[in-house]
Symmetry: C2
Subunit: 240 residues, 2 copies
DNA sequence: CGAGCTTTTGAGTACCGTCAAGTTAAGTGG
DNA sequence: CCACTTAACTTGACGGTACTCAAAAGCTCG
């Protein structure tokens, strides 16, 4: 029933040992030998943020990247008018901002906490130095960046040629583990944030959800959405 | 007066020597020793495409990347509805699709020729193998991907929170060499393609150009656009 | 229970896309 | 070189989608 159960199962006094274990389970570090991660971890330090705090700002020099242990982070980019677009919503056990390392860096987005959050701050210089000694890890890192590139290209398509219905449907279906059987997904943040992530206003998101509900395609209960037939949702959305 | 003078100055029988020279001037290869590029070039071959031809399709397995010698290529991503979004317009002397190399890959976009075009097809496997033997080159490649990531994030913002006026203004200003003195920019393709690149319809692009013209901010002559005061254009656009 | 959220619902509007016609430019063949 | 055809671009009228503003209803938590 707790909307953020993770905060309960992870001990707040995140020991370095526990963190090392969790780091080791991320796609990026899973292939790293333990004795490579350990020195990195030794130079890293946990940070705690309150909801609304800025971890780093768009354009500021990048010296670290981050592992999200507890809470939630929004990656935001702002326009001249002050309007904001959420590029990505970061979840626990995700790494983020590691891609900036190679540009001699400035952060391309702003990172803002959406709840009480603790992150592990990992220094980039040591990370890059380690990487350079192991071509295999570098190759893996390239694959990771390449994946992100694909993700962004897909996002670009969603934003430019898809309707609100299609965008939301795609988003929900991406959260679905399997597409050909009933599923229930939890929105990763409050609806206003999800709306911003999709390039919509909260009002529009609400209305689209309501339309889907009335069409019998989903059921909404707070932030939990049940999808009896994902494929039907896909078909319906593509017709709008 | 010729709209595509490049086709005249580059000998159509692109000798390998000439191509090597031009490759060496690209940001990616400028740091590569000659004896590293040569074997790569030996395995590569020039291809000629007519306008409309597909070089590779979204989702198809990637075995090569490309150097654009002559002509123009559109990188396109299509939605279920058939609507198309131009992700990028590739110009002569640009490299493209090199980022897919590391995903074991499939192309994330479709590449279509927009004019009679010749490209150099470079095999990925040899490229990656070379890269893996030289950490420095890998590092550089990571920087390149990182830059592309920044570019796409910026695009995302443009599409989601900016108006047609702002998008076009940003686009024109990016084509400007300097921002604080008068400039004349050439659109890199026909207006319909530029519109698709900006996520607009040709009609809307035409109207926005017309509004800018009437506001005295630009002058339009075919595909050449003069901007007497780039900063004024910026300010005007931000007010819309 | 009431204060401060988030979310929903409603009414009005603006922007941009669609459809259609007209104009200009470019390319083709006699 | 000039008629003719085709494509590129512009302009107009109209409509729909999604945004804005405003208010009410629903949660959450002290």
């Amino acid at each position: 029933m707790n909307p953020t159960p993770l905060e309960k199962v992870v001990p707040m006094g995140n020991s370095k040992e526990a963190l090392l274990l969790r780091l080791h389970h991320t796609p990026l570090f899973s292939a790293w030998p333990n004795d490579t991660i350990a020195p990195l971890l030794a130079q890293s330090q946990p940070l705690t943020l309150e909801s609304g705090d800025i971890l780093f700002a768009e354009g500021s020099p990048a010296r670290s990247f981050y592992f999200l242990a507890v809470g939630r982070i929004h990656l935001i980019t702002a326009a001249a008018t002050g309007q904001e677009k959420i590029v990505e919503i970061i979840q626990p056990d995700d790494l983020f901002a590691e891609a900036v390392a190679f540009l001699g860096g400035r952060y391309p987005v702003t990172a803002q906490a959406d709840a009480t959050t603790t992150v592990l701050e990992i220094p980039l210089d040591l990370f890059v130095a380690t990487l350079e000694q192991r071509p295999f890890l570098m190759r893996q890192m390239l694959a990771r960046l390449s994946m992100r590139l694909h993700f962004l290209v897909k996002e670009l398509r969603h934003l430019s040629v898809e309707s609100a219905e299609q965008r939301l449907a795609s988003y929900l279906l991406e959260l679905c583990p399997v597409v050909n059987s009933p599923a229930a997904v939890d929105l990763p943040a409050k609806k206003a944030a999800v709306a911003a992530r999709l390039g919509l206003t909260p009002e529009t998101l609400s209305r689209v959800l309501s339309r889907m509900r009335k069409a019998g395609l989903i059921e909404v209960e707070q932030r939990t959405i049940s999808i009896p037939d994902p494929l039907a949702l896909r078909r319906w959305a593509d017709g709008h």
